[in-house]
């Protein structure tokens, strides 16, 4: 048995470690190198100096943090009550509310932004309608306000999903104990319920913060003159007015450092709330009564209606006649016909093909890493686990640029290939699946595997026939998130895509940029259909209405 350490799993650890060094650490190293080594080969910090000495540049960081903090705060403000109502009260149509809110957070953020322009922009439907009928002039949606509006409606469901999980884990006897000691109503909500869910609240805060910080689509669509840090980064890398790769690399490094700081602040805050609850007595949902019922129904349904509005409107627009950026009268399939001429088939095929490929790789990696970390816990495997979490603090743009630097030239000239796209999908979206696979395996007692072995199954057979099937629910709930995020991926694809490897999301983004709104709407509508179908299939398989875990 002393040979145990050097079995197949040990070899796998080494392989994983080398692979992560190659696809994660090596590109990051290249990025770092590019930020400090000038084209003439000399070492210099001038790119960092350049950034910090111009307020034009540093202002973008302030802008980013203003948007990010406001978005996070408002998302919590909207999401927590929604989750509270949802978990503690019986609401008719709660399943619908759940599906709608998930659809909201699973759509590509820039599509919401684009749709809000169509609704509330300078010539938006609502803007025009209010002006013509009541003479009301709405404040401009461009800039700070619009970005926040679009992001909040995109991200509050994240808070909802997280907090719903936490609230459902609240033991009803704890609530009763609090009530027994005279702590009721609002006081109990803040003193007991929210405090008990604090780790989850912090987790959702981090999630929204990171998503908002690294979002490029929304500010670039809606921000106009209000430049965020990520928009600056893209402009420097892809800009029409001359690209500066060294400067872009320096910006990317700054982005990672900032995200890293926030990440560790959150970890530090979470460590203050270390306790575990075992909900033996889940809370029974109550029937809301009187004025409370009215508040709950109006709040939940109104919120979901507003949040889903942009997506529904995009689907509507995809059927509306359109010439360039001017909407005409009547409905038809013209936009789809146009889209067909513009690589609709290729883009759909690419989206699904590359998505499936990336997802399969992610699932395999997630299962193996979960097993290594939980069942073969050692220093090397924990290092691998930490490495796999790196993408949490790497905005899509950073990963895109790092991959180009690492694999853009010989010996790995992968630029413009599907391989580099799939690689970026895998890197960016594997943390979801790894987390949920690891969490699931931790709850599976090892004795079940030992039982299989004592019944004569080999280690491999035990892993395939017992361990993996038992992990499947956890893998599935992580994989659905990875999948939807892959299909709607923009921020790294925009750097890595080529004509041959374009995706539905990229096509929608490109045609919004070109002002061909009708064609863009058609791509966006198909994207929405794919995410909706994926979600419905998932819910059918997992059989539980609100089993989506993040």
């Amino acid at each position: 048995m002393a040979k145990k350490r050097f079995d197949g799993w040990f070899i796998l650890s080494i392989v994983m470690f080398v692979a992560f060094m190659f696809i994660l650490v090596y590109p990051m190293f290249g990025l770092l190198k590019q930020s400090v080594i000038m084209p003439d080969g000399s070492f210099s910090l001038e790119e960092f100096q350049k950034f910090f000495s111009h307020s034009y540049y540093t202002q973008t960081i302030l802008n980013s943090f203003k948007i990010t903090i406001t978005t996070t705060f408002l998302s919590l403000l909207l999401g927590v009550p929604f989750a509270y109502f949802y978990s503690f009260y019986k609401i008719k149509g709660s399943k619908l509310l759940f599906v709608v809110s998930i659809l909201c957070c699973m759509s590509a953020p820039f599509l919401g932004a684009y749709s809000w322009i169509m609704l509330l922009g300078r010539s938006g439907v609502i803007t025009k309608f209010l002006k013509a009928t009541f003479g009301i002039v709405l404040p401009s949606i461009y800039g700070f306000r619009g970005v926040v509006l679009s992001q909040v409606l995109n991200y509050f469901p994240l808070v909802f999903i997280y907090m719903n999980g936490a609230f459902r884990n609240t033991d009803s006897t704890l609530m009763e104990a609090a009530e027994n000691m005279g702590c009721t109503g609002i006081k109990r909500l803040f003193k007991i319920v929210l405090n008990l869910s604090m780790p989850t609240l912090l987790a959702s805060t981090l999630m929204v913060f990171m998503q908002s910080f690294s979002d490029f689509g929304t500010p670039s669509t809606l921000g106009e003159d209000y430049k965020t840090f990520l928009v600056l980064l893209y402009n420097e890398y892809l800009g029409e007015t001359g690209q500066d790769y060294n400067y872009a690399a320096a910006l990317a490094i700054i982005a990672v450092v900032l995200a890293g700081i926030v990440f560790f602040l959150q970890k530090w805050a979470t460590s203050k709330y270390k306790f575990s609850i075992n909900a033996l007595h889940p809370v029974q949902k109550k029937d809301p009564k009187g004025i409370l019922a009215v508040i709950i129904y109006v709040y939940c349904y109104l919120l979901c209606a507003i949040a889903i509005l942009p997506q529904a409107y995009v689907v509507f627009l995809s059927f509306r006649n359109c010439k360039g950026s001017v909407w005409g009268k009547g409905l038809s399939f013209n936009n789809y016909a146009n889209a067909m001429k513009k690589k609709l088939v290729l883009a759909s095929r690419n989206s699904i093909l590359m998505g499936v490929f990336a997802l399969v790789i992610i699932i395999v990696i997630a299962v193996l890493i979960a097993y290594l970390v939980v069942r073969r816990s050692n220093a090397l495997n924990h290092l691998i686990d930490s490495c796999s979490m790196l993408p949490y603090i790497m905005p899509g743009a950073v990963i895109g640029i790092a991959l180009i630097i690492a694999f853009g030239k010989k010996p790995f000239a992968l630029t413009g290939t599907m391989i580099i796209m799939i690689l970026s999908f895998v890197i960016r979206r594997m943390p979801y699946t790894i987390r949920s696979a690891t969490a699931t395996l931790m709850h599976i007692p090892e004795s079940i595997e030992e039982a299989a072995i004592s019944l004569g199954a080999s280690k491999l057979a035990t892993f395939v026939k017992v361990t993996v099937p038992m992990m499947s629910s956890g893998i599935l709930s992580g994989a659905i998130l990875s999948w939807v995020a892959i299909v709607t991926e923009l921020s790294s694809s925009v750097i890595l895509y080529s004509n041959r490897t374009t995706t539905l999301t990229m096509q929608a983004y490109v045609y919004i940029g070109r002002g061909e709104y009708g064609t863009a709407a058609a791509f966006a509508a198909i994207l929405n259909v794919i995410t909706t179908i994926s979600l419905l299939i998932y819910m059918r398989i997992s059989k539980s209405e609100d089993n989506v875990k993040l």
């Binding site: 004795s447 030992e450 039982a451 072995i453 019944l455």
Partner: protein
């Protein structure tokens, strides 16, 4: 099917820490129901898992009959194992669970169904064959685990606290199920528990363990009546421990308690018939309580608890030592707290231990422990 297990000088250690099991040897006979009993952390589960192959063996030799199994893969040891948490595969039906081992042990395909049927019937779970385990009670799950472990015709059956997750009533029911089926199949069984009553109920022989060392191996009766040392006497059943002296005088030996009570002992080991300090271990039923006696240990009743068949008295001896006495309840009266009483001792039954070595000084200890 009745292999004997022999373990010689087993050592278990984690890293460079002091070994959990320093040096352990034991012979388990073929077809025997053998129990490892001890407080938690004593190494009993560790030893069981070394036999199963899930824990590494740092030293010594493990044999099934003449085959050394130290380096044999757990899957090839042909062991049936029942776990504390049942370890039923939650994604497979009861039938698939039972058939799991048959498939991997390469039983002929056409027999698999029949064998599974036979064992499900034997364990009375045949009506649940197509259900998923989540729909079964704890007791039913344990029956599935047992059927699954037994149907592969293992050489040895290992059970790790199989009843500790069940409620009290089911535990009593399941332990006779386990004992009956073991006798019927005649399989060598090693059973781990910390519950001494459970151990007594099922075992042919018990090994009492403490801190990685076997203290006493014997039949339940012998372990209870003539425990090899003070630890065993206090761990098995309830014992009052009081200090005293052994006095050798004119060819006879007497015990003398601190309060001056003296009684002759006729069953002291010959080589121990010398005056020395001893510890008396007196079970609650080994005190003789006589309200009218003039001779004996003076004591005061503090409180009493009526438990139906028996009544427990909590008593302070004149030496200041507290003891518990169990008397069969009588119709007329219980003794009121505060009453002064006299106690004598049942010298045939009580045990005495050397204060220095804590070993039993009486004849009749049967310890199969290999020293």
């Amino acid at each position: 099917m009745s292999n004997n297990i022999s373990i010689k000088h087993a050592v278990k250690a984690y890293g460079s820490n002091a070994p959990v099991i320093p040096d352990l040897s034991v012979e388990i006979n073929g077809g025997e129901f053998f129990t490892l009993l001890g407080p938690s952390g004593c190494g009993k589960t560790t030893l069981l898992r070394m036999i199963a192959g899930f824990n590494s063996i740092e030293g010594g030799d493990f044999y099934f009959n003449e085959t050394r199994i130290n380096d044999l893969d757990p899957a090839k040891r042909n062991i049936g194992m029942v776990f504390q948490n049942y370890a039923i595969f939650p994604h497979l039906t009861v039938r698939k669970n039972v058939e799991f081992g048959l498939k991997y042990k390469k039983f002929p395909k056409e027999q698999i169904k029949d064998i599974a049927d036979k064992f499900m019937k034997l364990m009375q779970i045949d009506q649940y064959a197509d259900r998923l385990p989540e729909n079964l009670s704890g007791g039913q799950q344990q029956r599935v685990a047992l059927a699954r472990a037994l149907c592969i015709e293992p050489d040895v059956l290992l059970m790790d606290e199989p009843l500790s997750n069940l409620d009290a009533k089911l535990r009593v029911e399941m332990r006779s199920v386990i004992k009956d089926i073991q006798k019927e199949i005649g399989i060598t069984t090693v059973y781990v528990t910390h519950d001494q009553e459970e151990a007594m109920a099922v075992s042919d022989r018990i090994a009492v363990m403490n801190a990685g060392v076997i203290q006493h191996i014997g039949t339940p009766k012998n372990i209870y009546q003539r425990p090899s040392n003070l630890f065993v006497s206090t761990f098995i059943g309830r014992s009052n421990v009081i200090e005293g002296k052994l006095i050798a005088e004119g060819g006879k030996t007497y015990i003398e308690t601190k309060c001056g009570y003296r009684a002759e002992m006729t069953n002291v080991l010959d080589e121990q018939k010398v005056s020395q300090d001893i510890i008396l271990s007196i079970r609650p039923e080994e005190f003789i309580l006589d309200r009218n006696a003039s001779e004996g240990i003076a004591a005061t009743v503090n409180s009493c608890v009526f438990l139906g068949l028996n009544t427990h008295y909590f008593v302070t001896l004149s030496s200041g030592e507290d003891v518990v006495i169990i008397q069969e309840s009588s119709i007329d009266s219980t003794i009121e707290p505060g009453t002064q009483i006299k106690l004598t001792l049942n010298t045939d039954k009580l045990n005495i231990f050397s204060k220095e070595t804590e070993r039993n000084l009486l004849k009749g200890v049967q310890n199969d422990c290999i020293l």
